[in-house]
């Protein structure tokens, strides 16, 4: 018994010794960069393939990818790890978490500073304006590296259109046309003429950007933490009232929060569906009908509409290890080198063509064009053209920079649900979003006072 205990203790000691740094061997070992991401399969595997390619391209750094559940879980895990002084070097953060990251102070290492210190140059001027702008500070400095980006588009079922006597190759372009098409589809006996995924992102955020209308003051929060919600404007109220009326009439079907409605289009249930451009590959895989991709509809009587849509997706943030900092220059250099690799147009174009995310650079767009990708995949260029529509972004179409926006997005979905249940009209729903959203913004402002 005693001997066994001694043996176990010796083994334990040996294991401990193995953990201790060995200066001589450390020279030859590559520097490890921990990288947490939130992409499930198959996208996660495709991302990890890019990481493997980077590791194979040079011997000094080794990026170690690790899947941490969805975006929200990844964000929470990174925050908890930071508090425990064990944060990863690099974390993939969804676009709604951007406001939280911007206010994180010394927890994050801004990308512009990281690149300057490491002597790495990335030409952000070549990035699509709505993509780079979403992740820039108010003064235009790049805070994180944009990576997988999508936007919202409209898909329509051409077989359904034929059955309803509509031209299958002429998708509705305005909301007025959507309404007429939906009526005809319903009259032809189709159960779900129109649905939407991501109700808050598509019907509130994208609609506001398309019509150049603010979601919040101070340029949607880019100007500081004091922003206030402004979604109870005439356009949004009108749009909500339309959706509520259409739902009652059976023209519009509410499919649930976040991505829940994604399933309703590929299975042939809904005729017109608005959702992430990234759903394209799923429709190709599962859809047993003819379909097309179009830009999101707009109200033709609103001056200035339509403008560019805004993005969804995620960017990469460099993190300090914990509240006391704790990273050396070599580790930062490794992160910067990885960023340089990711920003190459060839890498980006390959990612775009394999996954259906939009290219983040014009140069990558050009590569995909040159390789004939859009001839082979008609409609795949629609999201990019929609993002580039109208040239430079305005302060209402740059994106959203509100603290606690994850919570506000849920509030929008909750109030929309209450409206669709018949408990309130569009004005009351949007007023409630403003009231509850402002509470979140004030709390965030108070907790993040410098």
């Amino acid at each position: 018994m005693k001997r066994r205990f001694l043996a176990a203790a010796a083994l334990g000691l040996a294991a401990l010794a193995g953990l201790l740094p060995r200066p001589a061997a450390a020279q030859a070992q590559p520097v490890e960069i921990q990288f947490w991401h939130g992409l499930a399969q198959p996208l996660g595997g495709q991302l990890e393939q890019i990481v493997a390619d980077f590791n194979a391209s040079q011997p000094r750094y080794r990026v170690v990818p690790s899947f941490r559940g969805g975006y929200a879980e990844t964000m929470v895990a990174a925050i908890a790890a930071f508090r425990a002084n064990a944060a990863p070097h690099l974390v993939q953060m969804f676009e709604v978490g951007t406001g939280t990251m911007m206010a994180a102070g010394r927890a994050v290492k801004p990308t512009y500073g990281l690149l300057a210190e490491s002597g790495v140059e990335i030409d952000f001027g070549d990035y699509l304006p709505p993509v780079r702008g979403y992740y820039q500070a108010a003064d235009g400095r790049q805070m994180s590296l944009p990576f997988n980006s999508s936007t919202a588009v409209m898909f329509w079922n051409k077989d359904h259109f034929r059955r309803a006597g509509l031209d299958p190759n002429a998708p509705p372009q305005t909301w007025q046309e959507v309404e007429q098409a939906a009526r005809k589809l319903k009259a032809a006996g189709l159960a779900c003429p129109l649905t939407t995924a991501w109700p808050a992102w598509v019907q509130v955020e994208q609609m506001s950007a398309l019509h150049d209308v603010p979601i919040a003051t101070l340029g949607n929060g880019f100007g500081g933490l004091g922003a206030e919600m402004r979604v109870n404007n005439p356009l949004m109220v009108r749009h909500m009232n339309n959706l509520i009326a259409w739902q009652r009439e059976g023209l519009f079907k509410y499919g649930g929060r976040d991505a829940a409605a994604d399933a309703l289009f590929p299975n042939g249930e809904c005729s017109i569906y608005m959702g992430s451009s990234g759903v394209r590959s799923r429709i190709i895989r599962e859809g047993r009908f003819e379909w097309g991709t179009a830009m999101l509809p707009y109200y033709s009587d609103v001056a200035g509409a339509p403008r560019n849509s805004i993005i969804g997706g995620a960017s990469f943030w460099a993190l300090n290890r914990g509240p006391q900092g704790g990273r050396n220059a070599e580790e930062w250099k490794g992160v910067a080198e990885f960023f340089r690799y990711l920003s190459q147009p060839e890498v980006d174009a390959k990612w775009h063509m394999e996954t259906g995310y939009v290219p983040v650079r014009r140069a990558s767009y050009a590569i995909a064009e040159r390789e004939g990708y859009y001839q082979k995949n008609p409609g795949a260029e629609i999201p990019i053209e929609q993002l580039l529509r109208g040239g430079e972004t305005t302060e209402n179409t740059r994106g959203i920079r509100l603290g606690g926006y994850v919570e506000i997005r849920n509030i929008i979905q909750e109030e929309m649900e209450k409206a669709f249940q018949g408990q309130q009209d569009g004005q009351q729903a949007m007023d409630a979003v403003v009231r509850r959203g402002n509470q979140v913004l004030r709390n965030f402002e108070r907790a993040n006072r410098q």
């Binding site: 929470v76 994180a104 929060r257 299975n267 909750e414 649900e417 669709f420 249940q421 907790a447």
Partner: protein, 293 residues
């Protein structure tokens, strides 16, 4: 008539208690203490800026209409889950206690759902009741009953109650069955000879003799409905539609994990802890008196 064992010295009893005390400290006292401390702080998500705010977090929680709504949901939900899970389990246990062919098979099958993880259970129910892909959900809609738990708060509540109660029936079943089997045959036979019909025998003899089991299960079921139903709600409705199925424990999760608002989340969990302590005290002081041992 109590027998007391007297230990000589302090070392041995302390040593014997040590494992339990250590577990209590590490898994209860320490986290509970941390929650109480966090509940009087205001902190950003990253823990870089901390400010002592006294009871402000509690004030804000208690005046928040959303919190009161969640408290009401919890009340409805817990009462419904506990009563339905216990009633169904008692009925099944009484049936399985009879001398019927294949009794053991029924017993085994009835115990199975307990082994199913909450999230998996939720997915099973989702595949039954989803309005467009669920078997029962589609049948309901085709029969002309408008079924859409994603938009109808009452239906959503009904669904999470059914799914949560279903999972707990097995547990209750085992205890009720054991309780029934420990009732002496002679008592039942005596009642039968006196001419009591089965229903009468159940309510006047069996049910009172089962009361210790029922009482124990009531406490366990309420605690289950309060704390262990997170997985079912999360996977089925996510607290929606609106906030129709957001219970107090779910709200603690939303506030702390999704919204990274730790002060408010900690205050809510402290309030929840106080509520459950109070509830258990009330149960032991007032209901236990009516229990026949």
């Amino acid at each position: 008539m109590r027998k007391k064992v007297i230990f000589k010295g302090v070392a041995l009893p302390l040593l014997l208690l040590a494992p339990q005390l250590a577990i209590t400290c590490v898994f209860f006292l320490w986290p509970a203490g941390a929650a109480i401390w966090q509940s009087v702080l205001q902190q950003d998500a990253w823990g870089l800026r901390t400010e002592f705010v006294g009871l402000r977090n509690f004030e804000e929680v208690l005046v928040d209409p959303a919190w009161r709504e969640a408290a009401w949901n919890t009340l409805v939900f817990s009462a419904a889950v506990a009563t339905s899970a216990m009633a169904v389990a008692l009925f099944l246990a009484v049936q399985a206690d009879k001398s019927i062919r294949g009794a053991n098979l029924y017993k085994t099958l009835l115990i199975w759902p307990y082994a199913v993880a909450p999230a998996v259970a939720a997915v099973l129910w989702l595949f039954l009741f989803h309005p467009s892909i669920g078997l029962i959900g589609r049948a309901l809609n085709q029969a002309g009953i408008l079924w859409d738990y994603k938009l109808n708060g009452g239906q959503a509540m009904l669904l999470v109650i059914i799914a949560s109660a279903w999972k707990q029936v097995s547990y209750n079943f085992i205890f009720f069955l054991a309780g029934l089997q420990s009732i002496p045959r002679s008592v039942l036979e005596a009642a039968a000879i006196d001419g009591a019909r089965p229903t009468r025998r159940f309510w006047t003899v069996v049910f009172p003799l089962l009361s210790p089991t029922t009482f124990f299960l009531l406490v366990v079921n309420l605690v289950y409905a309060f704390f262990d139903t997170f997985g079912v709600i999360h996977a089925l409705t996510g607290g929606g539609p609106g906030k129709a199925t957001e219970t107090l424990i779910y709200k603690v999760y939303v506030e702390g994990v999704q919204n990274t608002n730790l002060g408010s989340s900690a205050a809510q969990s402290v309030i929840l802890m106080v509520l459950v302590i109070a509830m258990t005290v009330v149960q032991f002081r007032f209901i236990e008196r009516r229990v026949h041992y």
